[in-house]
């Protein structure tokens, strides 16, 4: 859902760690900042990946219109209420790699929840678990919850098994982005160099192209929501 200020909340949630939540969060943050919008990242992950990225990197702190903060470790209910009431522009929520009530709550509130997953069975099973829980919440509130799987770190050459897995996802009720994020050093460089793919020097045009494709899909989801709300 979006609030009265039209803020858009994108959460990155998976019950499994190491799937690329923080990496894709930063990639999308960079794409949004390149569009000239304000981005607020809230790091709820106990590993503090993004918080550490921001606080230890002077380059990151100099990116205009970007703020990074840590989520609270308690009083989540009040925090979520005030966040949803007062936020503006884009709020990206990087959640812990585990399934908790907090993760589920933030994912349920978000305008869009993205579950990154590598093309591997353990990642897809966990993504499916996340989708099931969100569907259960959606049924109870009688409102759809936008949830998409983002296939991440896909190698340039995929094996027959990996193709089968993608086909299984497509034939299931799991919704995924058509854009797939390839395994590229430009994503890991976000952390080692304290920047974002869109602000790297030099930029990797292939990485930028796929993030921009992903952003087009995200924008289409938001526009669709707006049309439904207006109807």
């Amino acid at each position: 859902m979006s609030n009265k200020h039209g803020a858009r909340f994108i959460s990155f949630a998976s019950p499994k760690g190491g799937v690329g939540k923080s990496t894709s969060c930063l990639a999308i943050a960079g794409a949004l900042l390149a569009q000239g919008v304000k981005v607020r990242i809230i790091d709820f992950d106990q590993t503090e990946t993004i918080w550490r990225w921001y606080t230890t990197s002077p380059a990151a702190q100099q990116i205009a219109n970007l703020t990074v903060e840590q989520g609270p470790h308690s009083d989540h209910g009040d925090y979520i209420s005030s966040l949803w009431g007062g936020a503006t522009d884009y709020v990206l929520l990087d959640l812990a790699g585990s399934l908790s009530e907090l993760t589920l709550m933030i994912a349920a509130f978000a305008t869009l929840t993205i579950t990154p997953a590598k093309v591997s069975e353990p990642d897809i099973i966990e993504a499916n678990k996340m989708a099931n829980k969100l569907h259960a919440v959606a049924r109870r509130v009688s409102k759809p919850i936008n949830h998409r799987i983002l296939l991440n770190e896909v190698p340039n050459i995929v094996s027959r098994d990996e193709v089968d897995l993608i086909e299984q996802i497509d034939s299931s009720n799991l919704a995924r982005f058509q854009t797939i994020i390839r395994r590229r050093s430009s994503y890991s460089k976000s952390f080692s160099r304290g920047t974002l793919p869109h602000f790297a020097d030099p930029i990797n045009p292939k990485a930028i192209a796929e993030i921009d494709d992903l952003m087009r899909e995200i924008d289409a989801i938001f526009e669709n929501d707006q049309l439904k709300a207006a109807a």
Partner: protein, 134 residues
């Protein structure tokens, strides 16, 4: 005497939609035994270290018992390799180098992948980086 007001915090001014979603999430979490929060508590105080109990050293093996050696797990092995050299246009070499840099791969892998894409047989295991590439 009036009864004391309940100390329960009232959700004044909270959007009913938010309340409904929170209630639904709590229901689903309870049904599925999902924990409330899984953040480990970060301790700010330093506790005195507990005395460390060292495990007893293993008893020496009798002389007539052969030590157990874990069997090596055998899997598919990469094919033998041989060094070869070909003269390529400089701009092609430059593209191989650039692609390897951008995709974070070895030049060997870039070439093998291109050959495979061109129809040659290159097994997955032979795409992996060998000791020579490390």
């Amino acid at each position: 005497m009036k009864p004391a007001l309940p100390t329960k915090k009232m959700a004044l001014g909270v959007d009913p939609d938010i309340m409904q979603t929170m209630a639904a999430v709590k229901e689903v979490a309870q049904e599925s035994n999902i924990p409330t929060v899984v953040h480990p508590k970060i301790s700010t105080s330093t506790a005195a270290p507990s005395p460390v109990v060292l495990p007893a050293p293993p008893a020496p093996l009798p002389d007539d018992v052969a030590p157990v050696v874990a069997k090596k797990v055998r899997g598919p092995k990469p094919a033998p390799v041989r060094r070869t050299s070909v003269d390529l246009p400089v701009y092609v070499i430059e593209q191989i180098r650039s692609m390897a840099y951008h995709d974070n791969k070895t030049k060997r892998r870039v070439i093998l992948e291109a050959l495979r894409a061109g129809g040659l047989t290159v097994k997955d295991i032979d795409l992996e980086e060998g000791p020579a590439d490390a």
